[in-house]
Amino acid sequence: MATHPSILFQLGASHHTAPLAVREKLAIDAARASDLATRLGQITGVREFALVNTCNRVELYGVASTADAFPALHAALGAVTGCTPAELDSAVTLRQNHAAIGHLFAVASGLDSQIVGETEILGQVKQAYDAALAQHWTGPVLNRVFQKTFQAAKHIRTNTGIGAGQISIATVAVDLAGRIFGELAHTKILVVGAGDIGLKTVQAFQSRGATGITVASRTLAKAEEAAALAGGWALSLADLPEAVAGADIIASSTSSPDFILTRELIAAGIKRRPARPLFLIDLALPRDVDPATAELANVFLYNLDDLAEIAEENLAQREAEVAKCQAILADRTAALWPQVAHSLNAPGTS
Protein backbone atom coordinates (compact mmCIF):
# COMPACT_ATOMS: atom_id res chain seq x y z
CA MET A 1 0.00 0.00 0.00
CA ALA A 2 1.48 3.37 -0.99
CA THR A 3 1.94 5.90 1.78
CA HIS A 4 1.67 9.65 1.34
CA PRO A 5 3.58 12.21 3.39
CA SER A 6 2.03 13.90 6.37
CA ILE A 7 1.33 17.63 6.25
CA LEU A 8 2.77 20.30 8.50
CA PHE A 9 0.03 22.91 8.86
CA GLN A 10 -0.76 26.27 10.37
CA LEU A 11 -4.41 27.16 10.73
CA GLY A 12 -5.65 30.30 12.42
CA ALA A 13 -6.48 33.97 12.37
CA SER A 14 -4.68 37.14 13.33
CA HIS A 15 -5.12 40.91 13.14
CA HIS A 16 -4.14 40.66 9.46
CA THR A 17 -7.09 38.47 8.58
CA ALA A 18 -9.79 39.05 11.18
CA PRO A 19 -11.62 42.25 12.16
CA LEU A 20 -11.72 43.19 15.82
CA ALA A 21 -15.20 41.75 16.35
CA VAL A 22 -14.10 38.32 15.13
CA ARG A 23 -10.81 38.52 17.04
CA GLU A 24 -12.80 39.15 20.22
CA LYS A 25 -14.61 35.86 19.67
CA LEU A 26 -11.41 34.06 18.72
CA ALA A 27 -9.58 35.25 21.85
CA ILE A 28 -9.85 32.14 23.97
CA ASP A 29 -9.11 31.85 27.67
CA ALA A 30 -7.27 28.99 29.35
CA ALA A 31 -10.40 26.87 29.85
CA ARG A 32 -11.46 27.17 26.21
CA ALA A 33 -7.90 26.59 25.07
CA SER A 34 -7.93 23.38 27.05
CA ASP A 35 -11.28 22.43 25.47
CA LEU A 36 -9.85 23.13 22.02
CA ALA A 37 -6.80 20.98 22.76
CA THR A 38 -9.04 18.12 23.85
CA ARG A 39 -11.02 18.35 20.61
CA LEU A 40 -7.84 18.51 18.52
CA GLY A 41 -6.54 15.40 20.22
CA GLN A 42 -9.67 13.56 19.19
CA ILE A 43 -9.43 14.42 15.48
CA THR A 44 -8.32 11.42 13.50
CA GLY A 45 -5.09 12.04 11.63
CA VAL A 46 -3.84 14.96 13.75
CA ARG A 47 -0.58 13.65 15.18
CA GLU A 48 1.04 16.69 16.70
CA PHE A 49 -0.22 20.15 17.57
CA ALA A 50 0.50 23.36 19.48
CA LEU A 51 -1.71 26.37 20.09
CA VAL A 52 -0.37 29.93 19.87
CA ASN A 53 -2.99 32.09 21.53
CA THR A 54 -2.35 35.81 22.02
CA CYS A 55 -4.54 38.92 22.05
CA ASN A 56 -4.01 39.35 18.32
CA ARG A 57 -3.86 35.80 17.05
CA VAL A 58 -5.12 32.26 17.52
CA GLU A 59 -3.05 29.81 15.51
CA LEU A 60 -2.83 26.08 15.48
CA TYR A 61 0.37 24.43 14.34
CA GLY A 62 0.37 20.71 13.79
CA VAL A 63 1.00 17.63 11.74
CA ALA A 64 -1.88 15.90 9.96
CA SER A 65 -1.77 12.59 8.14
CA THR A 66 -4.01 13.91 5.37
CA ALA A 67 -5.83 17.04 4.32
CA ASP A 68 -9.06 15.34 5.42
CA ALA A 69 -8.33 16.54 8.97
CA PHE A 70 -8.65 20.22 8.08
CA PRO A 71 -12.48 20.49 8.06
CA ALA A 72 -12.53 18.89 11.51
CA LEU A 73 -9.94 21.39 12.75
CA HIS A 74 -12.08 24.21 11.38
CA ALA A 75 -15.13 22.81 13.11
CA ALA A 76 -13.31 22.43 16.43
CA LEU A 77 -12.24 26.07 16.26
CA GLY A 78 -15.81 27.11 15.50
CA ALA A 79 -17.25 25.03 18.33
CA VAL A 80 -14.88 26.45 20.92
CA THR A 81 -14.96 30.10 19.85
CA GLY A 82 -18.58 30.37 18.81
CA CYS A 83 -17.65 31.87 15.47
CA THR A 84 -20.00 31.19 12.58
CA PRO A 85 -18.67 29.23 9.59
CA ALA A 86 -18.86 32.42 7.54
CA GLU A 87 -16.73 34.31 10.08
CA LEU A 88 -14.19 31.50 10.18
CA ASP A 89 -14.09 31.23 6.40
CA SER A 90 -13.22 34.88 6.07
CA ALA A 91 -10.79 35.08 9.00
CA VAL A 92 -9.00 31.74 9.16
CA THR A 93 -6.09 30.97 6.88
CA LEU A 94 -4.44 27.64 6.25
CA ARG A 95 -0.76 27.32 5.41
CA GLN A 96 0.98 24.05 4.70
CA ASN A 97 4.51 22.71 4.94
CA HIS A 98 7.12 25.23 3.75
CA ALA A 99 4.67 28.15 4.08
CA ALA A 100 3.71 27.12 7.63
CA ILE A 101 7.37 27.13 8.73
CA GLY A 102 7.97 30.52 7.13
CA HIS A 103 4.91 31.93 8.86
CA LEU A 104 5.94 30.64 12.29
CA PHE A 105 9.43 32.11 11.80
CA ALA A 106 7.88 35.48 10.93
CA VAL A 107 5.46 35.37 13.87
CA ALA A 108 8.17 34.53 16.44
CA SER A 109 10.50 37.19 15.03
CA GLY A 110 7.86 39.88 15.43
CA LEU A 111 7.55 40.51 11.69
CA ASP A 112 3.88 39.55 11.69
CA SER A 113 3.02 41.55 14.81
CA GLN A 114 0.78 44.58 14.85
CA ILE A 115 3.75 46.54 16.23
CA VAL A 116 6.53 45.31 13.96
CA GLY A 117 9.56 44.05 15.84
CA GLU A 118 7.92 43.73 19.26
CA THR A 119 9.56 41.13 21.47
CA GLU A 120 6.67 39.89 23.57
CA ILE A 121 5.51 37.51 20.86
CA LEU A 122 8.64 35.36 21.11
CA GLY A 123 7.90 34.71 24.79
CA GLN A 124 4.30 33.86 23.92
CA VAL A 125 5.38 31.39 21.23
CA LYS A 126 7.81 29.83 23.70
CA GLN A 127 5.04 29.51 26.29
CA ALA A 128 2.77 27.91 23.70
CA TYR A 129 5.46 25.40 22.79
CA ASP A 130 6.32 24.64 26.43
CA ALA A 131 2.64 24.01 27.18
CA ALA A 132 2.31 21.68 24.20
CA LEU A 133 5.52 19.89 25.08
CA ALA A 134 4.40 19.40 28.70
CA GLN A 135 1.12 17.87 27.50
CA HIS A 136 2.94 15.61 24.97
CA TRP A 137 1.04 17.24 22.10
CA THR A 138 4.21 17.79 20.10
CA GLY A 139 6.37 15.19 18.38
CA PRO A 140 9.59 15.07 16.34
CA VAL A 141 8.33 17.40 13.62
CA LEU A 142 6.98 20.24 15.75
CA ASN A 143 9.84 19.94 18.23
CA ARG A 144 12.35 20.51 15.47
CA VAL A 145 10.33 23.28 13.86
CA PHE A 146 9.84 25.19 17.12
CA GLN A 147 13.49 24.85 18.17
CA LYS A 148 14.58 26.18 14.78
CA THR A 149 12.00 28.95 15.13
CA PHE A 150 13.54 30.15 18.38
CA GLN A 151 17.01 30.10 16.82
CA ALA A 152 15.76 32.08 13.82
CA ALA A 153 14.00 34.65 16.00
CA LYS A 154 17.11 35.11 18.13
CA HIS A 155 19.24 35.52 15.02
CA ILE A 156 16.89 38.16 13.65
CA ARG A 157 16.87 40.10 16.91
CA THR A 158 20.65 39.98 17.23
CA ASN A 159 21.65 40.64 13.66
CA THR A 160 19.08 43.11 12.38
CA GLY A 161 17.60 46.37 13.56
CA ILE A 162 14.04 45.02 13.69
CA GLY A 163 13.79 45.54 17.44
CA ALA A 164 15.85 48.72 17.60
CA GLY A 165 14.30 51.78 19.17
CA GLN A 166 11.06 52.14 21.07
CA ILE A 167 7.83 53.08 19.37
CA SER A 168 5.45 54.35 22.03
CA ILE A 169 5.68 57.71 23.81
CA ALA A 170 6.21 56.14 27.24
CA THR A 171 8.82 53.59 26.14
CA VAL A 172 10.68 56.18 24.06
CA ALA A 173 10.93 58.28 27.23
CA VAL A 174 12.22 55.26 29.16
CA ASP A 175 14.74 54.53 26.42
CA LEU A 176 15.99 58.12 26.55
CA ALA A 177 16.29 57.93 30.32
CA GLY A 178 18.45 54.82 29.85
CA ARG A 179 20.77 56.79 27.60
CA ILE A 180 21.12 59.47 30.23
CA PHE A 181 21.25 57.39 33.42
CA GLY A 182 22.06 53.84 32.32
CA GLU A 183 20.43 51.79 35.08
CA LEU A 184 17.11 53.24 36.17
CA ALA A 185 16.76 51.34 39.45
CA HIS A 186 18.18 54.20 41.53
CA THR A 187 16.75 57.14 39.63
CA LYS A 188 14.26 59.41 41.37
CA ILE A 189 11.21 60.19 39.29
CA LEU A 190 8.94 63.15 39.91
CA VAL A 191 5.56 63.14 38.20
CA VAL A 192 3.93 66.55 38.06
CA GLY A 193 0.18 66.28 37.55
CA ALA A 194 -1.96 63.27 38.33
CA GLY A 195 -3.09 62.68 34.75
CA ASP A 196 -3.35 59.36 32.97
CA ILE A 197 -0.42 59.88 30.59
CA GLY A 198 1.93 60.75 33.44
CA LEU A 199 0.98 57.61 35.34
CA LYS A 200 1.35 55.46 32.22
CA THR A 201 4.84 56.86 31.78
CA VAL A 202 5.59 55.99 35.40
CA GLN A 203 4.46 52.43 34.76
CA ALA A 204 6.89 52.21 31.85
CA PHE A 205 9.70 53.41 34.13
CA GLN A 206 8.67 50.95 36.83
CA SER A 207 8.85 48.12 34.29
CA ARG A 208 12.53 49.03 33.91
CA GLY A 209 13.17 48.82 37.64
CA ALA A 210 12.54 52.43 38.77
CA THR A 211 11.21 52.56 42.33
CA GLY A 212 11.65 56.12 43.61
CA ILE A 213 8.40 57.72 42.44
CA THR A 214 6.94 60.99 43.73
CA VAL A 215 3.71 62.52 42.46
CA ALA A 216 3.09 66.26 42.78
CA SER A 217 -0.30 67.77 42.05
CA ARG A 218 -2.11 71.04 42.65
CA THR A 219 -4.11 69.41 45.44
CA LEU A 220 -2.45 67.02 47.83
CA ALA A 221 -5.49 64.71 47.84
CA LYS A 222 -5.18 64.13 44.10
CA ALA A 223 -1.44 63.61 44.43
CA GLU A 224 -2.00 61.07 47.20
CA GLU A 225 -4.55 59.22 45.11
CA ALA A 226 -2.17 59.03 42.13
CA ALA A 227 0.80 58.19 44.34
CA ALA A 228 -1.15 55.28 45.80
CA LEU A 229 -1.71 53.97 42.28
CA ALA A 230 1.93 54.44 41.32
CA GLY A 231 3.28 53.20 44.62
CA GLY A 232 5.09 56.43 45.46
CA TRP A 233 5.07 59.58 47.59
CA ALA A 234 2.75 62.55 47.25
CA LEU A 235 3.48 66.28 47.26
CA SER A 236 1.63 69.46 46.49
CA LEU A 237 2.93 71.86 43.84
CA ALA A 238 4.09 74.18 46.59
CA ASP A 239 6.86 71.68 47.37
CA LEU A 240 8.14 71.64 43.78
CA PRO A 241 11.41 73.55 44.33
CA GLU A 242 12.59 70.97 46.85
CA ALA A 243 11.32 68.07 44.77
CA VAL A 244 13.00 69.34 41.58
CA ALA A 245 16.37 69.47 43.33
CA GLY A 246 16.03 65.83 44.34
CA ALA A 247 14.68 64.42 41.07
CA ASP A 248 16.56 62.81 38.20
CA ILE A 249 13.58 62.55 35.89
CA ILE A 250 10.56 64.87 35.84
CA ALA A 251 7.50 63.94 33.80
CA SER A 252 4.96 66.74 33.72
CA SER A 253 1.39 66.50 32.44
CA THR A 254 -0.77 69.13 34.08
CA SER A 255 -3.50 71.12 32.36
CA SER A 256 -1.99 74.42 33.44
CA PRO A 257 -2.05 77.17 30.78
CA ASP A 258 1.32 78.48 32.06
CA PHE A 259 4.71 76.89 32.51
CA ILE A 260 4.86 74.91 35.75
CA LEU A 261 8.59 74.20 35.44
CA THR A 262 10.23 77.50 34.66
CA ARG A 263 13.84 78.06 33.71
CA GLU A 264 14.51 79.67 37.09
CA LEU A 265 13.00 76.77 39.01
CA ILE A 266 15.01 74.18 37.08
CA ALA A 267 18.22 76.23 37.22
CA ALA A 268 17.89 76.52 40.99
CA GLY A 269 17.26 72.79 41.30
CA ILE A 270 20.16 71.70 39.09
CA LYS A 271 22.52 74.01 40.93
CA ARG A 272 22.06 71.93 44.06
CA ARG A 273 23.09 68.68 42.31
CA PRO A 274 25.32 69.78 39.44
CA ALA A 275 26.99 66.46 38.75
CA ARG A 276 23.75 64.61 37.99
CA PRO A 277 21.84 65.21 34.77
CA LEU A 278 18.14 66.07 34.76
CA PHE A 279 15.71 64.59 32.25
CA LEU A 280 12.55 66.65 31.69
CA ILE A 281 9.63 65.01 29.92
CA ASP A 282 6.91 67.47 28.97
CA LEU A 283 3.77 65.45 28.28
CA ALA A 284 1.37 68.40 28.57
CA LEU A 285 -0.47 70.48 26.00
CA PRO A 286 -0.11 73.40 26.46
CA ARG A 287 3.42 72.76 27.58
CA ASP A 288 4.38 72.66 31.27
CA VAL A 289 8.12 73.12 30.85
CA ASP A 290 9.70 76.34 29.71
CA PRO A 291 11.64 75.48 26.50
CA ALA A 292 14.45 77.73 27.74
CA THR A 293 15.33 75.04 30.31
CA ALA A 294 16.84 73.03 27.43
CA GLU A 295 19.65 75.59 27.29
CA LEU A 296 20.82 74.63 30.80
CA ALA A 297 23.85 72.36 30.99
CA ASN A 298 23.10 68.77 31.96
CA VAL A 299 19.35 69.29 31.38
CA PHE A 300 17.64 67.28 28.64
CA LEU A 301 14.15 68.37 27.66
CA TYR A 302 11.79 66.35 25.48
CA ASN A 303 8.18 67.30 24.75
CA LEU A 304 5.36 65.27 23.23
CA ASP A 305 6.31 66.17 19.65
CA ASP A 306 9.94 65.18 20.23
CA LEU A 307 8.93 61.80 21.65
CA ALA A 308 6.40 61.16 18.89
CA GLU A 309 8.97 62.02 16.23
CA ILE A 310 11.49 59.58 17.71
CA ALA A 311 8.81 56.88 17.88
CA GLU A 312 7.97 57.46 14.22
CA GLU A 313 11.62 57.35 13.20
CA ASN A 314 12.12 54.12 15.09
CA LEU A 315 9.06 52.57 13.51
CA ALA A 316 10.24 53.60 10.03
CA GLN A 317 13.63 52.06 10.77
CA ARG A 318 12.03 48.83 11.88
CA GLU A 319 9.91 48.68 8.76
CA ALA A 320 12.98 49.30 6.63
CA GLU A 321 14.52 46.20 8.22
CA VAL A 322 11.57 43.96 7.36
CA ALA A 323 12.80 43.05 3.86
CA LYS A 324 16.21 42.08 5.24
CA CYS A 325 14.57 39.92 7.92
CA GLN A 326 12.28 38.27 5.41
CA ALA A 327 15.26 37.33 3.23
CA ILE A 328 17.07 35.80 6.23
CA LEU A 329 13.97 33.87 7.26
CA ALA A 330 13.38 32.65 3.70
CA ASP A 331 16.90 31.20 3.65
CA ARG A 332 16.38 29.55 7.01
CA THR A 333 13.00 28.16 5.97
CA ALA A 334 14.53 26.74 2.79
CA ALA A 335 17.31 25.15 4.83
CA LEU A 336 14.93 23.61 7.36
CA TRP A 337 12.25 22.39 4.99
CA PRO A 338 14.13 19.34 3.54
CA GLN A 339 14.72 18.02 7.08
CA VAL A 340 11.08 18.53 8.02
CA ALA A 341 9.94 16.97 4.74
CA HIS A 342 12.10 13.95 5.50
CA SER A 343 10.49 13.64 8.95
CA LEU A 344 7.03 13.99 7.43
CA ASN A 345 7.86 11.18 5.01
CA ALA A 346 9.09 8.92 7.77
CA PRO A 347 6.80 5.89 8.32
CA GLY A 348 6.04 6.80 11.93
CA THR A 349 4.51 10.14 11.03
CA SER A 350 2.15 9.13 8.25
Binding site: R179, F181, G182, P274, A294, A297
Partner: protein, 282 residues
Protein backbone atom coordinates in the same frame (compact mmCIF):
# COMPACT_ATOMS: atom_id res chain seq x y z
CA UNK B 1 63.38 35.24 8.93
CA UNK B 2 64.27 36.77 12.27
CA UNK B 3 65.19 40.04 10.56
CA UNK B 4 61.59 40.37 9.40
CA UNK B 5 60.56 40.88 12.98
CA UNK B 6 62.52 44.01 13.69
CA UNK B 7 61.19 46.33 16.35
CA UNK B 8 59.66 48.64 13.75
CA UNK B 9 58.11 45.72 11.86
CA UNK B 10 56.46 44.57 15.09
CA UNK B 11 55.28 48.09 15.83
CA UNK B 12 53.87 48.34 12.30
CA UNK B 13 52.00 45.08 12.83
CA UNK B 14 50.60 46.40 16.10
CA UNK B 15 49.51 49.67 14.50
CA UNK B 16 47.88 47.89 11.57
CA UNK B 17 45.96 45.58 13.89
CA UNK B 18 44.70 48.61 15.82
CA UNK B 19 43.63 50.12 12.50
CA UNK B 20 41.97 46.85 11.47
CA UNK B 21 40.11 46.83 14.79
CA UNK B 22 38.93 50.36 14.26
CA UNK B 23 37.76 49.70 10.68
CA UNK B 24 36.10 46.40 11.60
CA UNK B 25 34.32 48.15 14.45
CA UNK B 26 33.11 50.92 12.17
CA UNK B 27 31.84 48.45 9.59
CA UNK B 28 30.14 46.47 12.35
CA UNK B 29 28.42 49.62 13.55
CA UNK B 30 27.12 50.55 10.13
CA UNK B 31 25.69 47.05 9.85
CA UNK B 32 24.20 47.44 13.34
CA UNK B 33 25.90 44.32 14.65
CA UNK B 34 25.26 43.50 18.28
CA UNK B 35 27.55 45.30 20.75
CA UNK B 36 28.59 41.92 22.20
CA UNK B 37 29.77 40.50 18.87
CA UNK B 38 31.44 43.77 18.03
CA UNK B 39 33.29 43.86 21.36
CA UNK B 40 34.62 40.32 20.96
CA UNK B 41 35.96 40.95 17.46
CA UNK B 42 37.47 44.28 18.50
CA UNK B 43 39.12 42.85 21.57
CA UNK B 44 40.78 40.05 19.59
CA UNK B 45 42.30 42.56 17.16
CA UNK B 46 43.27 44.98 19.91
CA UNK B 47 44.90 42.31 22.08
CA UNK B 48 46.86 41.16 19.00
CA UNK B 49 47.91 44.74 18.21
CA UNK B 50 48.86 45.41 21.79
CA UNK B 51 50.92 42.18 21.91
CA UNK B 52 52.92 43.11 18.80
CA UNK B 53 53.41 46.64 20.06
CA UNK B 54 54.63 45.27 23.36
CA UNK B 55 57.14 42.99 21.59
CA UNK B 56 58.37 45.90 19.45
CA UNK B 57 58.83 48.16 22.46
CA UNK B 58 60.46 45.29 24.36
CA UNK B 59 63.03 44.84 21.59
CA UNK B 60 63.81 48.54 21.69
CA UNK B 61 64.03 48.38 25.46
CA UNK B 62 66.61 45.57 25.19
CA UNK B 63 68.70 47.63 22.78
CA UNK B 64 68.45 50.77 24.95
CA UNK B 65 68.85 48.76 28.18
CA UNK B 66 65.92 50.51 29.74
CA UNK B 67 62.34 51.60 29.31
CA UNK B 68 61.84 52.53 25.63
CA UNK B 69 61.33 56.25 26.11
CA UNK B 70 64.40 57.47 24.22
CA UNK B 71 62.74 59.74 21.67
CA UNK B 72 59.40 61.17 20.58
CA UNK B 73 58.65 58.08 18.52
CA UNK B 74 59.05 55.78 21.52
CA UNK B 75 57.15 58.09 23.86
CA UNK B 76 54.18 58.32 21.48
CA UNK B 77 54.22 54.54 21.00
CA UNK B 78 54.34 54.08 24.77
CA UNK B 79 51.40 56.47 25.27
CA UNK B 80 49.33 54.47 22.76
CA UNK B 81 50.37 51.19 24.41
CA UNK B 82 49.48 52.53 27.88
CA UNK B 83 46.09 53.80 26.74
CA UNK B 84 45.32 50.37 25.31
CA UNK B 85 46.37 48.64 28.53
CA UNK B 86 44.14 50.94 30.58
CA UNK B 87 41.29 50.28 28.12
CA UNK B 88 41.60 46.52 28.71
CA UNK B 89 40.95 47.11 32.41
CA UNK B 90 38.36 49.87 32.10
CA UNK B 91 36.57 48.24 29.16
CA UNK B 92 36.25 44.86 30.87
CA UNK B 93 35.24 46.37 34.21
CA UNK B 94 32.66 48.89 33.06
CA UNK B 95 31.72 47.39 29.69
CA UNK B 96 31.60 50.81 28.11
CA UNK B 97 30.20 50.32 24.64
CA UNK B 98 32.18 51.96 21.82
CA UNK B 99 35.19 52.71 24.04
CA UNK B 100 37.09 49.92 22.27
CA UNK B 101 36.36 51.50 18.90
CA UNK B 102 37.46 54.93 20.09
CA UNK B 103 40.61 53.51 21.71
CA UNK B 104 41.42 51.55 18.56
CA UNK B 105 41.15 54.71 16.46
CA UNK B 106 43.20 56.69 18.93
CA UNK B 107 45.96 54.08 19.33
CA UNK B 108 46.09 53.47 15.56
CA UNK B 109 46.45 57.20 14.91
CA UNK B 110 49.22 57.69 17.45
CA UNK B 111 51.09 54.54 16.39
CA UNK B 112 50.79 55.19 12.65
CA UNK B 113 51.68 58.87 12.88
CA UNK B 114 54.79 58.06 14.89
CA UNK B 115 55.78 55.40 12.35
CA UNK B 116 55.18 57.73 9.41
CA UNK B 117 57.35 60.54 10.77
CA UNK B 118 60.90 59.18 10.48
CA UNK B 119 62.40 62.31 12.06
CA UNK B 120 60.92 61.27 15.39
CA UNK B 121 63.08 58.16 15.36
CA UNK B 122 66.35 59.36 13.83
CA UNK B 123 67.92 60.28 17.13
CA UNK B 124 67.62 58.34 20.34
CA UNK B 125 68.86 59.16 23.83
CA UNK B 126 71.03 56.62 25.57
CA UNK B 127 71.53 55.95 29.27
CA UNK B 128 68.63 58.29 29.87
CA UNK B 129 68.07 57.14 33.38
CA UNK B 130 71.67 56.73 34.44
CA UNK B 131 70.98 53.07 35.25
CA UNK B 132 68.72 54.29 38.06
CA UNK B 133 65.57 52.16 38.20
CA UNK B 134 63.74 54.80 40.24
CA UNK B 135 64.22 57.45 37.59
CA UNK B 136 63.14 54.90 35.00
CA UNK B 137 60.02 54.14 37.00
CA UNK B 138 59.37 57.87 37.33
CA UNK B 139 59.53 58.31 33.54
CA UNK B 140 57.48 55.20 32.77
CA UNK B 141 54.76 56.17 35.26
CA UNK B 142 54.62 59.71 33.90
CA UNK B 143 54.17 58.49 30.34
CA UNK B 144 51.70 55.85 31.52
CA UNK B 145 49.62 58.59 33.14
CA UNK B 146 49.52 60.23 29.71
CA UNK B 147 47.99 56.98 28.48
CA UNK B 148 45.32 57.30 31.16
CA UNK B 149 44.69 60.94 30.26
CA UNK B 150 44.48 59.86 26.61
CA UNK B 151 41.71 57.43 27.49
CA UNK B 152 40.05 60.17 29.56
CA UNK B 153 40.11 62.32 26.44
CA UNK B 154 38.28 59.61 24.54
CA UNK B 155 35.60 59.16 27.20
CA UNK B 156 35.26 62.96 27.36
CA UNK B 157 34.79 63.03 23.59
CA UNK B 158 32.14 60.31 23.93
CA UNK B 159 30.41 62.37 26.60
CA UNK B 160 30.37 65.43 24.36
CA UNK B 161 28.93 63.36 21.52
CA UNK B 162 26.27 61.81 23.74
CA UNK B 163 25.39 65.20 25.18
CA UNK B 164 25.12 66.71 21.69
CA UNK B 165 23.02 63.78 20.52
CA UNK B 166 20.56 64.07 23.42
CA UNK B 167 20.36 67.86 23.30
CA UNK B 168 19.77 67.92 19.54
CA UNK B 169 17.58 64.82 19.40
CA UNK B 170 19.90 63.07 16.94
CA UNK B 171 19.76 59.64 18.45
CA UNK B 172 20.49 57.19 15.69
CA UNK B 173 23.63 55.94 13.97
CA UNK B 174 26.77 55.98 16.06
CA UNK B 175 24.99 57.80 18.89
CA UNK B 176 22.71 54.82 19.42
CA UNK B 177 25.66 52.82 20.81
CA UNK B 178 27.18 55.47 23.07
CA UNK B 179 27.20 54.81 26.83
CA UNK B 180 24.93 56.77 29.13
CA UNK B 181 25.85 60.25 30.35
CA UNK B 182 26.03 59.08 33.96
CA UNK B 183 28.27 56.14 33.11
CA UNK B 184 30.64 58.42 31.19
CA UNK B 185 30.67 60.93 34.06
CA UNK B 186 31.63 58.20 36.51
CA UNK B 187 34.35 56.79 34.28
CA UNK B 188 35.78 60.26 33.59
CA UNK B 189 35.99 60.94 37.30
CA UNK B 190 37.76 57.65 37.95
CA UNK B 191 40.16 58.13 35.06
CA UNK B 192 41.18 61.63 36.11
CA UNK B 193 41.67 60.30 39.64
CA UNK B 194 43.83 57.42 38.34
CA UNK B 195 45.84 59.68 36.03
CA UNK B 196 46.52 62.25 38.76
CA UNK B 197 47.48 59.49 41.20
CA UNK B 198 49.97 57.95 38.75
CA UNK B 199 51.43 61.31 37.82
CA UNK B 200 51.68 62.28 41.49
CA UNK B 201 53.57 59.07 42.30
CA UNK B 202 55.79 59.65 39.30
CA UNK B 203 56.56 63.23 40.31
CA UNK B 204 57.10 62.22 43.93
CA UNK B 205 59.71 59.67 42.85
CA UNK B 206 61.28 62.21 40.49
CA UNK B 207 61.24 64.91 43.17
CA UNK B 208 62.97 62.69 45.73
CA UNK B 209 65.94 62.37 43.32
CA UNK B 210 65.72 65.94 42.09
CA UNK B 211 66.25 67.42 45.58
CA UNK B 212 69.62 65.61 45.71
CA UNK B 213 70.73 67.24 42.50
CA UNK B 214 68.62 70.27 41.63
CA UNK B 215 70.52 70.97 38.43
CA UNK B 216 69.70 67.54 37.08
CA UNK B 217 66.40 68.76 35.60
CA UNK B 218 66.15 71.76 33.33
CA UNK B 219 63.69 74.45 34.33
CA UNK B 220 61.41 74.26 31.22
CA UNK B 221 60.89 70.52 31.77
CA UNK B 222 60.22 71.06 35.45
CA UNK B 223 57.70 73.81 34.78
CA UNK B 224 55.87 71.96 32.06
CA UNK B 225 55.68 68.71 34.03
CA UNK B 226 54.51 70.35 37.23
CA UNK B 227 52.12 72.53 35.19
CA UNK B 228 50.46 69.48 33.60
CA UNK B 229 50.20 67.77 36.97
CA UNK B 230 48.79 70.88 38.62
CA UNK B 231 46.25 71.43 35.87
CA UNK B 232 44.93 67.88 36.16
CA UNK B 233 44.96 68.13 39.96
CA UNK B 234 42.84 71.29 39.80
CA UNK B 235 40.46 69.57 37.37
CA UNK B 236 40.16 66.64 39.77
CA UNK B 237 39.49 68.90 42.75
CA UNK B 238 36.92 70.97 40.87
CA UNK B 239 35.19 67.82 39.72
CA UNK B 240 35.19 66.45 43.25
CA UNK B 241 33.61 69.66 44.54
CA UNK B 242 31.03 69.58 41.74
CA UNK B 243 32.31 72.85 40.27
CA UNK B 244 33.43 71.37 36.96
CA UNK B 245 31.03 68.78 35.60
CA UNK B 246 29.34 67.53 32.49
CA UNK B 247 30.19 69.23 29.20
CA UNK B 248 32.58 71.78 30.72
CA UNK B 249 34.55 69.01 32.41
CA UNK B 250 34.72 67.07 29.14
CA UNK B 251 35.90 70.12 27.17
CA UNK B 252 38.57 70.91 29.75
CA UNK B 253 39.85 67.33 29.65
CA UNK B 254 39.96 67.43 25.86
CA UNK B 255 41.87 70.72 25.70
CA UNK B 256 44.16 69.81 28.56
CA UNK B 257 45.27 66.60 26.90
CA UNK B 258 46.06 68.49 23.69
CA UNK B 259 48.28 70.81 25.72
CA UNK B 260 49.80 67.89 27.61
CA UNK B 261 50.71 66.19 24.33
CA UNK B 262 52.31 69.38 23.09
CA UNK B 263 54.31 69.51 26.31
CA UNK B 264 56.00 66.20 25.45
CA UNK B 265 58.30 68.08 23.05
CA UNK B 266 59.87 70.43 25.62
CA UNK B 267 59.97 67.64 28.23
CA UNK B 268 61.75 65.31 25.83
CA UNK B 269 64.21 67.97 24.63
CA UNK B 270 65.25 68.98 28.13
CA UNK B 271 66.28 65.70 29.60
CA UNK B 272 69.32 65.57 31.77
CA UNK B 273 72.08 63.33 30.49
CA UNK B 274 70.48 63.16 27.08
CA UNK B 275 73.11 61.66 24.81
CA UNK B 276 71.64 61.64 21.34
CA UNK B 277 72.58 58.79 19.09
CA UNK B 278 71.93 59.00 15.36
CA UNK B 279 70.13 55.85 14.41
CA UNK B 280 70.70 54.15 11.09
CA UNK B 281 67.97 55.36 8.72
CA UNK B 282 65.40 52.62 8.32
Amino acid sequence: MASLFTDRALLWLGALLYLAGFLAGLIGLTRRQSPTGLRTMLNILLIGGWGFQWLGLYQRGLVGRGCPLGNTFEIVQFVAWSAMLVYFFVGSTFRVSLLGLFTAGYAATLALVSLLIPQWDLVRGQKLFGNNPWIEAHAALAVFSYGVFGLLTLTSLMQLLQNWSLKNKRLNGLFWFLPSIVQLEQINYRLVLLGVTLLSISLSVGASWWVRNIESVHLPKLMVTVGVWLAYLIVLLLRWRGRLVSVRFAWVCLILFGLALLSLGPVNANRHGYQPVILTPR
